[in-house]
Amino acid sequence: MSDRPDYLGPNYRLGAPRAPPPSRGEVWRAFARRLLWPPQPRLWAALFATAVASLGAYGLWFQATLGSRLPSRIDWRAAAALVSRDARPGDVVAIAPAWAERAREALPDALPVRPDLPLPILAFPDLASEDLTGVRRVWLLSLDGAPGAAPEVARALAARSAAVDGPQRLGALRATRFDLRAPLNPLYVFSDTLPSASVRVDDAACTPEARGGWRCPAPRPMRVAREIREVDFLPRTCIKLTPPNPGRLILDFPEVPVGRALRGHTGTAGGAGLGNAAPVRIRVKVGDEDVGEAEEPPGPAGWHLFQLDTSRLAGRRLPVSFEISSSSPGPLPLCLDAVMLP
């Protein structure tokens, strides 16, 4: 059959070349367009009814299965029994997700084998960047089936562990033990030895309190104490102090075994950070030598790391002093945590 126009036909224009066959996407788009436009009441009603019915069915499933995805009191008791039996000094419990803080109520707060030693429970959303000072093993209790549960904490712990034991299933809980590859065991923890330090504001000595803290006199009264305070929404055990202005707050620690570095963190306690205020400066001396300066910077709250090299003084026992000052006018409670690394 010829493609030429019929000379008896209505016109003599050459026929347009044949259109290529439509792609699969074009076919679907055309189908969807025909289906949805112009709006056909029955179709829209069916789509609407399908959406309502399927979301309703999902809602029923969600409610029906929610209980079994969360741990029961029996599950928590099983976890408590496991930790009580197997935990030893240097162990901590981590929970994931971090909101599952019923663990604090359900688990023992001290090691049954050594009741004088606490068994800390870490409710941290991220453990990858935590120092985990003094921790050798971490027991992770995870609610893997809970809505919003995510494996980040388990992954972070696995990445820094030499051995992993578990997971062991305890109902809706999973217990996994992580033996850390390189535990951070400091030579000296400054916040633990605050009562043996001496504290002064410039030349005015502060007086020790029965509870282990220090009370500094007027005209710049303040308390310096070892506390657990909120820094960027997480609990931090630290020396809580208020930098004076004008003047310097000086903490002198005698007879500190010196290692390769002095490592620590600063953060504003229980607040939104320094914002636009001036930074807080912390000058550190080991013996007579100025080893450097740390700074709590302006801006949002955070747990700011500093590390000062003390390797040339390593192996000796020397006094360490922290001189804290700020030109900011307002009282800004600061959390200072420092340890001497071996």
Binding site: V52, L55, G59, P118, I121, G148, R229, F233
Partner: protein, 555 residues
């Protein structure tokens, strides 16, 4: 033979129309259920202050009856309590408390105040059923209240004697009266009566909470938008001819009702009114958790009210509401294009605008963002109406001849999971999150606000009563001193437990999980020397309230 006369007499009291009977049944049901479930709902921070105000205001009116000449002198004494909010709802709570608790001794003090809130909730149910019936027949009347009250946070708000549900009720009532005042086919006198009612209801609305002020410009805009097509056809004079008398009534009667009901404004009227306006215009911003961020200062995220609505309304109900909103918009488009002869453009514009405006208002980035969904709750009845109508219309289209059965199945699929969710989270309504969020647990993972207002402490009162040492000093944190006193007055908390101001002077600390107050919990750990709670209240394993105690303070 049994005497059937009482039943016959009772039946005679019932309204004749089926829609009215449905509305009445809903109102009675809501009243009974709210009253039955209220004792497990705790006293929130705001509510404790409103209790104090509600006790003071009726005393003033009692004094006025006894000695009218002293009324002006006494106004300040009684109305200085909680003068940052107008008095109408609090006065209602005061009256129900005076009658039921003090007068008849039928209810506890808290339940007496809250009976006023139950009445507002019942009125809301009645209005929803009535308007729903007018819009979509029997199923509209049956479903509209269900779509409102089977949302956990809305159900929660039908209990406390606070201002948000009364404001929502009066907003709806004003809009309904406005709609009736323009009723086609109604006689002029009846329309005039509805216009008068619109003015009075608007007055009560602004005498309840400041949100009410937005009704006047909103209803004016609704009228204008609906009148524009006619004005384009017939010329601008048509606008003047059709100007609704209800708007005039609102402008004239609203401020008068506010002034008459609020003796605080009887002295120094203008400076005090200016102070009231200034308080709300420059309202403090409370920190609020939103996807792991703590919102402290503006600009706040515009999407906030829409996202929080999407994460708190049960999904199938949300889908119904969204479908209803889309249906309303398409009807507006058709009416404007002159293709929907049966569509009432003013009605559609009124419903659509009221369903969207309260959300859009809070979306404004400088408006304070806190308080869960309560600040845009006036949108919820309209979304419920639209959702109910969407279900009824879909059923009619999909199953002509058996639309009732289709509507019933769809309604069951939408409402059964919602009712389950509502029952599951009760009484922790401020902590309710839907399936999309993953419930309370999923919302905690997302970093959303876990709760607010301090009322969930009620769940640990029994533990405190049973285990606290005699005369223990308790740091109640988010629960106010007034709330503690109210629990003690009603015999729900031991009277020997004393008020502590911080962890330093406390034997027991009641920690309410608030991300912005975490330092309070950690200070408690420091002071008490341990981080182990002795008891707690949890919703889907997320801690709401936990109790810490010093050694020896917990037996």
């Amino acid at each position: 033979m049994r005497d059937l006369r009482p039943i016959v007499r009772f039946r005679a009291l019932l309204p004749r129309s089926r829609e009215r009977r449905v509305a009445l049944a809903w109102a009675a049901g809501v009243l009974v259920v709210a009253a039955a479930t209220a004792p497990s709902v705790g006293i929130s921070r705001d509510e404790s202050v409103y209790f104090a105000a509600a006790e003071a205001y009726p005393r003033f009116w009692g004094e006025v009856v006894r000695a009218p000449s002293h009324a002006l002198a006494l106004a300040d004494a009684y109305y200085s309590v909680n003068r940052e909010h107008p008095p109408f709802a609090k006065l209602v709570y005061g009256v129900t408390h005076a009658v039921l608790s003090k007068g008849l001794g039928l209810a506890s003090h808290a339940q007496g105040f809250r009976f006023g809130a139950f009445l507002f909730a019942a009125l809301l149910a009645y209005l929803l059923a009535t308007w729903g019936g007018s819009l979509a027949g029997l199923w509209g009347g049956v479903l509209a209240p269900a779509f409102f009250f089977f949302v956990p946070r809305n159900f929660y708000h039908s209990h406390p004697a606070v201002l948000d549900l009364p404001e929502t009720t009066l907003w709806l009532a004003t809009a309904y009266a406005f709609w009736r005042s323009a009723g086609a086919g109604g006689d002029q006198a009846r329309n005039g009566r509805w216009a008068l009612a619109t003015g009075l209801l608007f007055g009560l609305s602004i005498a309840t909470k400041h949100n009410g002020w937005f009704l006047l410009p909103l209803l004016a805009a609704c009228w204008l938008l609906a009148a524009v097509p006619a004005a384009l056809r017939e010329g601008p004079r048509a606008l003047g001819a059709r100007f609704p008398s209800a708007l005039l009534a609102m402008a004239a009667l609203g401020p008068l009702v506010l002034l008459a009901s609020w003796p605080w404004l009887w002295h120094d009227t203008w400076p005090r009114f200016a102070a009231y306006v200034s308080f709300h215009v420059h309202h403090e911003n409370y920190p609020w958790s939103y996807f792991g961020r703590l919102l402290r200062e503006p600009p706040f995220p515009v999407a906030y009210p829409f996202v929080v609505t999407a994460l708190t309304v049960p999904l199938a109900v949300l889908a119904s509401m969204a479908g209803g909103l889309a249906q309303s918009l398409s009807r507006i488009v058709r009416a404007v294009r002159g293709r929907g002869g049966e569509i009432s453009l003013p009605t559609e514009v009124l419903l659509f605008a009221n369903a969207v405006f309260p959300l859009a208002l809070i979306a404004w980035p400088t408006v304070p963002h806190f308080g869960g969904v309560k600040h845009w709750m006036p949108a919820m009845p309209f979304l419920a109406l639209l959702g109910a109508r969407a279900i009824a219309s879909a059923a009619q289209v999909l199953g002509p001849g058996r639309s009732g059965a289709v509507a019933g199945v769809l309604a069951a699929l939408a409402l059964v999971p919602a009712a389950w969710q509502t029952a599951h989270v009760h009484p922790f309504g401020t902590a309710a999150w839907n399936e999309l969020a993953g419930g309370a647990a999923g919302a905690a993972s997302l970093g959303m606000q876990r709760q607010f207002w301090g009322d969930n402490m009620i769940a640990i009162l029994e533990d405190l009563n049973e285990h606290a040492a005699s005369g223990a000093r308790v740091w109640f944190q988010e629960a106010t001193w007034l709330a503690v006193k109210e629990y003690q007055r009603d015999g729900r908390l031991r009277p020997d437990l004393a008020w502590a101001t911080g962890p330093e002077d406390a034997d027991i600390s009641v920690w309410h999980y608030h991300r912005e107050f975490l330092d309070k919990e950690f200070r408690t750990w420091t002071e008490f020397g341990n981080a182990r709670p002795v008891a707690g209240a949890y919703l889907d394993e997320t801690p709401l309230v936990q109790i810490y105690a010093r050694p020896g303070a917990w037996r």
